[in-house]
C-alpha cells in the first residue's frame, strides 16, 4: 500500500510537472493540423453562392451586429433571414428577414493603377508584349460584391440562427450569440497581423474556431489590424476573406470580429469589408467604442490618423463617459505605444496620458509581430496602478525577436516577451482579468492576471 501511494504520488507529480512545462497542450493543437483539410472548408466564391461570411460588432454588441458576405455575381436580392429558432431548412420559419442595407462591388485600387499603366503603354509596346507573351497578359481578376445586413434590436446573450440568401441561393444555417449585457464574466480573443503566412493564417483561424468550440463563452475576436499586406489589393483581401471563414466553428457558429485598422489596411476595401461607411467624401472613421454592459468597455483607436484633433476629442469623451460606469476599461489599436521591437508612434503622447488619467486597465496592441505583455505602466515607470499593454500580433505573420532589454518587457520585473504565432484569450471576471497567450500548438505561453480597481469593481 505504501509503495502504491508513493507511486501514485510520483505519477501525479510527473503529470503536474509535464503540464507546467506545457508538454500537454491546454488548448487545441493545430500546429500539426493538416492545412489541406482545413482549407477544404472554404466556400468557393462562384456565382451567387454566399461566401466569405463574417459577423462584425462595432456599436452595441448586446443588441446590434452586422452580417456580411460576398458573392461573385451582383444579381438579385440579398437577404438575411434570422431568428432565435433554427429554421430547419425552411426560410419562412425565421422570425426576421432583412434586406441588405449596403451592397456594392469591392474596389481594387491596384487594378485601377494597373489599368492606368496599361493605358499609358504605347501600341508598339503592347504589340511587343503580345509577341513575347502571347498568353501572358491575363485580364485583371474581377472583384466580387459585398453585402451587409445590419441587425439591431437583438436581445443580449441570445442565440440567433441565420441564413444568407443571394439571388435565391441560400447559404447553410449559421448561428451566433449576442454579447451579454449584465454578466460578471466576459471572455474574448485578441490577435492581429495576419497579412502574410497564408498557411499559418489558416491554422490560426482554425485555432480560433477550435478555441471557440471548447470555450463557448468566447464572445468575439478583437482583431488589431494588418489583415493583409496591401489594403489596396482586392486579391489579398479576397484570400483573407475566404480564409476568415475558417474561424467559424464546426457547429457553424459565427465568431464576431471587433476590427481595428492596421497601417497596411489603407484604401477603401477595409471599409467595404467591415462596413465602415463615410458620410461624405472623407474616409470613414475607424475609431469607436464598444460596451459589454457595465462589465467591460473597449475603445478602438486608429493609429493611421492624427492622435490629436478629432480622435483625441473622441478618446477623451469616451474614457470620461465609460470609466465611471465600467468595471473593466480596455483599448485596442494597431501601433504599439510601448513597442517590444519598433519605436513608439506620436500617438503615445496623446493616448498614454489619457489612458493613465482614466485608469485604463488593458491596452491591446499589434504591429510588432512578437508576443508581449508589459509591466503595469504609469508615468513611464512600473506602477501597480498603471496600464498593462499586451500584443503584438501573430495571426500568421512571421515573428520578430523582441528587445527584451526594454524595461517595460523585462521578464525579471514580471513582464513577458517572446515570439510565435499566437492569440490571446482574455477573461474578465468581477475581480480579475486573466490574459492567456496561446500558441499554435495550444500551449499557454504566458498567463497573467490583472486585479480590478477597487473604485470600479462595483459597476
Amino acid at each position: 500500500m505504501y509503495i502504491c501511494n508513493k507511486l501514485s504520488l510520483a505519477l501525479l507529480l510527473t503529470i503536474s510537472l509535464l503540464c507546467c512545462n506545457g508538454a500537454f497542450a491546454a488548448y487545441p493543437n493545430v500546429a500539426e493540423a493538416d492545412v489541406a483539410e482545413i482549407n477544404k472548408k472554404i466556400t468557393p466564391l462562384v456565382e451567387s453562392i454566399p461566401a466569405q461570411w463574417r459577423l462584425t460588432m462595432k456599436d452595441d454588441p448586446t443588441a446590434m451586429a452586422t452580417v456580411s458576405w460576398s458573392t461573385f455575381l451582383p444579381d438579385g436580392e440579398h437577404v438575411l433571414y434570422y431568428g432565435r429558432r433554427s429554421s430547419a431548412g425552411d426560410l419562412n420559419d425565421y422570425e426576421n428577414r432583412v434586406v441588405c442595407q449596403r451592397n456594392g462591388k469591392y474596389s481594387d485600387e491596384v487594378i485601377k493603377k494597373k489599368n492606368k499603366q496599361d493605358q499609358a503603354h504605347s501600341k508598339e509596346e503592347q504589340q511587343q508584349q503580345e509577341e513575347v507573351e502571347p498568353e501572358g497578359n491575363q485580364p485583371p481578376k474581377p472583384t466580387a460584391y459585398y453585402h451587409h445586413a445590419r441587425l439591431s434590436g437583438l436581445k443580449p446573450a441570445t442565440l440567433y440562427y441565420l441564413t444568407m440568401v443571394s439571388n435565391g441561393v441560400a447559404s447553410g444555417e449559421f448561428h451566433f450569440y449576442t454579447a451579454p449585457a449584465d454578466r460578471n464574466r466576459l471572455v474574448f480573443l485578441h490577435g492581429g497581423d495576419s497579412r502574410t503566412g497564408i498557411a499559418a493564417r489558416s491554422q490560426m483561424n482554425r485555432l480560433i474556431s477550435e478555441l471557440v468550440s471548447v470555450r463557448p463563452e468566447i464572445c468575439a475576436l478583437v482583431h488589431g489590424g494588418d489583415y493583409v499586406s496591401s489594403g489596396h489589393s482586392y486579391e489579398q483581401w479576397e484570400r483573407w476573406l475566404s480564409q476568415n471563414e475558417l474561424i467559424t466553428t464546426d457547429e457553424n457558429r459565427l465568431v464576431p470580429i471587433i476590427p481595428a485598422k492596421g497601417n497596411h489596411d489603407r484604401g477603401k476595401l477595409i471599409g467595404e469589408i467591415f462596413d465602415f461607411e463615410s458620410d461624405g467624401e472623407d474616409d470613414p472613421i475607424y475609431y469607436y467604442d464598444i460596451q459589454f454592459g457595465n462589465h467591460l468597455s473597449m475603445v478602438i483607436l486608429d493609429t493611421n490618423i492624427a492622435g490629436t484633433g478629432a480622435q483625441e476629442a473622441f478618446l477623451t469623451d469616451a474614457l470620461a463617459r465609460l470609466r465611471p460606469k465600467t468595471r473593466w476599461l480596455t483599448a485596442q489599436y494597431h501601433r504599439p505605444l510601448y513597442p517590444a521591437v519598433k519605436t513608439a508612434p506620436a500617438h503615445k503622447g496623446v493616448f498614454v496620458p489619457l489612458f493613465e488619467n482614466y485608469d485604463l486597465d488593458l491596452a491591446l496592441e499589434s504591429d510588432g509581430h512578437v508576443i508581449k505583455r508589459t509591466v503595469p505602466i504609469r508615468n513611464e515607470q512600473k506602477d501597480t496602478t498603471g496600464v498593462v499593454y499586451v500584443g503584438e500580433g501573430g495571426l500568421g505573420v512571421g515573428q520578430r525577436q523582441p528587445k527584451i532589454d526594454r524595461w517595460f518587457i523585462n521578464p525579471e520585473e514580471g513582464a513577458y516577451a517572446g515570439q510565435g504565432h499566437h492569440v490571446m484569450l482574455i477573461a474578465a471576471d468581477v475581480k480579475m482579468l486573466t490574459i492567456e497567450t496561446i500558441g499554435m500548438d495550444g500551449r499557454v505561453l504566458d498567463e497573467s492576471v490583472i486585479q480590478a480597481r477597487d473604485e470600479y469593481i462595483q459597476n
Binding site: 466564391l45 502574410t196 497564408i198 498557411a199 490629436t308 484633433g309 519605436t343 503622447g349
Partner: protein, 324 residues
C-alpha cells in the same frame, strides 16, 4: 569651417542612423530583405495560386496538397545572417561617424565608406517605400534627399581631389580647390538639390495635411502651454507647406543668405519637433534629420569661404555668389 561642419553633421547622422539598426527593429532594407526571405521560404506564390483556385472553385487535390508542403518552421539562418549584416552595417555607421569626426585628412577608405553610406541612405529610403505601411511612404527617398547627399559631399572632400595629396590637411587641400569651378559648382548644386527635394516633399506632405505633422505641431505646442485647435493646426500646416515649397524654389534659384538661414532654422526646428512632441526617447528621429537644416549652414560656411577666397584671388568661382 564648412568641412568641419559637414563632418559634424555626417557624424551625428551616422550615429542616429545606427541606433534603430543596433537597438530597434533594424533598417528598412533589412526589414524588406527579411520579409522577402520569409516569403521565399513560405513559397507563398504557390500557396496563393492554390488558394485562388480554392476560391474560384477550380482547386484540385494538388492545390490542397500544396499547403502541406509549406514549411511552417523554416530555418531562420538566412534571417540571422541578414540581421548580422545589418548589425555589422550599424557598427560600420558608428565607425564612419567617428571617422568623420576625427579624420581631417585626405582619406580614401573613409571616403569610400561615406559614399556607401550615401548609397545606403538611398537604398534604405527606397526600402521604406517597398515596405509601405506608412502614410506618404512613397515620398521617403525624396524626404531623405538631404541626408543622402550629405555623406556624399563629405566623401568628395575626403576622396582626394586632384590637388590633394595623401596626408595633406583638408584645410590646406580645399584652399587649393578654389579655382576648380566644376567641382565647386557640383558641390553647391548637390547640396542645394538635396535641400530642395527634401523641402519639396515635406511641403507636399504638409499641404496634404499629414497626420504625423499635425501631431508633431499640437504636441510640441503643448510643451509651451499652447493648446492648438485642429483647424488652426491644419491651416498652419498649409502655410508651412507653402513656405517649404517657396524655400524649395528659393534655394534652387538663388544663393541668398537669408534663405539659407531660414532653411537652417526651420530645418532644425522641424527636426527637433520629434523630441518636443514625443520626448527624448526618440532623439534619433531628430538627429537623423540634422542635415535638413544643417546642410544650409554648411552652404553658408562654404559660400563665406568662397567669398574670402574670392576677395583674396579677385575671382568668383560660382556664378551668383556676388549676390549673397
Amino acid at each position: 569651417m564648412w568641412v568641419w561642419l559637414l563632418s559634424f553633421i555626417v557624424a551625428i547622422q551616422c550615429f542616429s542612423m545606427a541606433k534603430p539598426i543596433l537597438l530597434a527593429d533594424g533598417s528598412h532594407a533589412f526589414r524588406y530583405l527579411t520579409r522577402q526571405v520569409d516569403l521565399a521560404q513560405a513559397d507563398e506564390s504557390d500557396v496563393e495560386r492554390s488558394l485562388d483556385a480554392i476560391i474560384t472553385g477550380t482547386a484540385t487535390e494538388a492545390d490542397y496538397a500544396s499547403f502541406d508542403s509549406v514549411d511552417l518552421a523554416p530555418s531562420q539562418r538566412p534571417q540571422s545572417i541578414l540581421r548580422a549584416l545589418d548589425h555589422a552595417w550599424g557598427a560600420a555607421l558608428v565607425l564612419v561617424g567617428i571617422g568623420a569626426l576625427c579624420i581631417r585628412r585626405h582619406h580614401k577608405p573613409l571616403a569610400i565608406l561615406l559614399g556607401l553610406t550615401s548609397l545606403w541612405c538611398m537604398v534604405d529610403s527606397m526600402s521604406a517605400v517597398l515596405n509601405g505601411g506608412v502614410t506618404f511612404a512613397y515620398l521617403s527617398p525624396y524626404g531623405a534627399a538631404a541626408r543622402t547627399v550629405t555623406p556624399l559631399l563629405l566623401a568628395t572632400v575626403l576622396s582626394g581631389l586632384p590637388t590633394c595629396s595623401t596626408g595633406e590637411r583638408i584645410s590646406d587641400a580645399y584652399q587649393s580647390l578654389f579655382g576648380r569651378r566644376f567641382w565647386l559648382n557640383a558641390f553647391d548644386w548637390c547640396a542645394r538639390i538635396g535641400i530642395a527635394v527634401t523641402f519639396a516633399s515635406h511641403g507636399h506632405k504638409a499641404v496634404a495635411g499629414d497626420y504625423y505633422f499635425q501631431d508633431l505641431i499640437i504636441l510640441s505646442a503643448r510643451r509651451i502651454g499652447l493648446d492648438l485647435p485642429t483647424n488652426t493646426t491644419l491651416t498652419l500646416l498649409d502655410w508651412i507647406g507653402y513656405q517649404d515649397v517657396l524655400l524649395t524654389f528659393a534655394v534652387l534659384l538663388t544663393r541668398t543668405r537669408w534663405v539659407l538661414y531660414w532653411i537652417a532654422v526651420w530645418g532644425l526646428i522641424t527636426a527637433i519637433s520629434r523630441i518636443t512632441a514625443m520626448g527624448f526617447e526618440v532623439f534619433d528621429l531628430s538627429l537623423v534629420r540634422i542635415a535638413n537644416g544643417g546642410l544650409a549652414l554648411v552652404l553658408l560656411a562654404f559660400y563665406a569661404w568662397l567669398s574670402r577666397c574670392s576677395s583674396n584671388q579677385n575671382s568668383v568661382p560660382i556664378s551668383g555668389l556676388r549676390f549673397l
